[in-house]
């Protein structure tokens, strides 16, 4: 059992317009300061589940969500909740990095400026700090004011990491964050995630089993919109309780 849950999902069901439900009766707890990996075959609802944590699902027209997602015990779907505060709390690494149309510096400073957290010299220090955490500072320190789009895709993904971390989230969400990257850049991102788990709760969606094994402390296996099995990584990988989990781990689908 998880002693200190950071995210709790209760009776979560989601529906896309004119389609079958995408998530069916999901009940989960996600541990604090660990890497939780959501795995499963394409179309099983991994990304949908992840998008319910930062309320990105509602950006798609016609989606309906029923149930609760609690972060630190507070239901983020409560009408009183401010969606921008929830998203500030949950950093996101998307499948492909998208650079905001501005310089490297401004990309990292973006969230800090939006929330009015820091300015002037403080902002410079913060940008440096988060680029260092993302492992990019040495590569970009001489061209901070160059367009961020000129960076390689691997570097761009690390800018995304710095940009997300700069607003001081508690949770870091990764939606197959290395799937568009070359192996070296992917390894770079994985290494950062493993370093960061001491300060952040990390939830990563992946469809590669090997990546799941490298990263996971806790594993959620999904199939057809349902959570089939969830548990500590060693237990799920070595002694899966469900037939479908065994099938997936042995490469049947």
């Amino acid at each position: 059992m998880i002693t200190k849950p950071h995210i709790e999902i209760r009776n979560l069901n989601t529906f896309y317009e004119h389609q079958q439900p995408a998530l069916v009766n999901v009940n989960l707890t996600i541990p604090r300061n660990q890497v939780t990996v959501i795995m499963g075959p394409s179309g099983c609802g991994k990304t949908t589940l992840l998008k319910t944590f930062n309320r990105f699902l509602e950006l798609t027209d016609g989606t309906r969500i029923a149930g609760e997602v609690l972060i630190d015990g507070v239901n983020i779907y409560d009408p009183d909740q401010d969606v921008t505060e929830i998203r500030k709390k949950t950093g996101l690494l998307a499948q492909r990095p998208y650079m905001l149309p501005m310089s490297i510096y401004e990309n990292v400073a973006y969230g800090l400026r939006i929330h009015g957290i820091k300015r002037g010299r403080e902002l410079d220090l913060a940008v440096r700090h988060y680029l260092e955490i993302a492992g990019l500072w040495d590569e970009v320190k001489d061209r901070l004011h160059a367009p961020a789009t000129r960076l390689s895709i691997g570097q761009q993904q690390r800018v995304c990491l710095a940009r997300g971390l700069a607003v001081e989230p508690e949770i870091l969400l990764g939606d197959e964050p290395t799937s568009a990257l070359d192996p070296i850049s992917a390894a770079h991102i994985e290494a950062r995630l493993l370093e960061l788990k001491k300060d952040y709760t990390i939830v990563v969606v992946t469809h590669t089993l090997r990546q799941a094994k490298r990263l996971a402390d806790y594993v959620i296996f999904m199939y057809m919109g349902e959570v089939v099995e969830a548990g500590h990584a060693r237990q799920v990988f070595e002694d899966p309780q469900q037939e479908r989990t065994r099938g997936y781990l042995s490469g049947q689908f």
Partner: protein, 288 residues
């Protein structure tokens, strides 16, 4: 390897299609060149410093001294003002469509309305604005001209912006939303920046239509030989200057009409090149 040619209907179809595509292009290119040639060959001999630096003197339309400075300044003020007003109205509409109502039925109605407005002939705008001005007790004035040109330009500008904003990848605005920016902050700080070249193009397209339109300003801005001094003065414009000069029976005045057309073309060209340079400089940061 031996290259052999086999008769295949698909290959023939492709060759024929290519031929027609090339033909269409040549027709368009030839029209553009012949327009430029006509304006240049007839207008250049009549173009003089006097023409662009003086207002019409008595008997100008009979071939006496003077120039079209009244129309040059008038056109710049009318089209510049109209474009500015249209920009202030169009950009929020385009951003609103993209940010809040993207794919809903409401957005379809807004787009349909704009497309219908786009198709309305400019003389109808002129007549409509004229009736409105009569009701409000306004006379032909710069203000009237600016308002009618803004009305004329809004649908063009909004739809042109809308089309480019729709090309923006969803993930880009999500990158901004993900750090806790609101939709409005995302629209202003990210969408506008990313779409800047498109916004410039849309503005130019509308400016070009505005400065070249004669029918809508005929009753609303009026015509005068003087340079306008306030928003309530009647204001001359280049298209009407061309129309009046070409309508005289005197060949030398008709030639000045071509010179005026040349000036109009040059203004559009300079504004267009200038803003493209600016947008290229500002566009360095955008995703492609």
């Amino acid at each position: 390897m031996v290259r052999s040619w086999h008769f295949k209907p698909r290959h023939v179809a492709e060759t024929v299609a290519k031929f027609f595509m090339l033909l269409s292009f040549l027709i368009v290119a030839a029209s553009l060149l012949s327009i430029l040639w006509t304006v240049l060959s007839r207008g250049l001999p009549a173009l003089s410093w006097e023409m662009i630096s003086q207002t019409p003197k008595g008997g100008y339309y009979l071939g006496k001294e003077g120039g079209i400075l009244n129309a040059i300044i008038g056109s710049l003020l009318l089209a510049g003002g109209g474009t500015l007003v249209a920009l202030v109205i169009s950009l929020p509409i385009a951003l609103f469509l993209e940010t809040y109502v993207m794919k809903t039925r409401w957005a379809r109605y807004v787009r349909l309305t704009l497309d219908i407005l786009w198709g309305i002939p400019s003389i109808v705008y002129g007549a409509f604005a004229f009736t409105l001005m009569l009701a409000m007790g306004l006379r032909a004035s710069m203000l009237g001209g600016i308002i009618v040109l803004a009305l004329l330009e809004i649908p063009i500008m909004t739809r042109a912006m809308d089309e480019v904003i729709r090309l923006m990848p969803e993930e880009l605005s999500q990158a901004s939303l993900a750090v806790g920016a609101s939709k409005l902050e995302t629209a202003i700080r990210v969408t506008v920046r990313q779409m800047l070249p498109g916004i410039v193009t849309a503005t130019l397209l509308a400016f070009g239509r505005g400065i070249g339109d004669a029918a809508s300003v005929l009753y609303t801005a009026g015509y005068t030989d003087r340079i306008p001094t306030s928003l309530s003065s009647p204001t001359a414009s280049l298209p009407l200057a061309i129309y009046f000069q070409l309508g005289t029976p005197y060949p030398e005045v008709q030639q000045r009409a071509y010179a005026s057309a040349l000036v109009l073309t040059l203004i559009v060209l300079i504004v267009s090149l200038g803003s493209r340079l600016v947008s290229a400089r500002l566009g360095r940061f955008i995703n492609r």
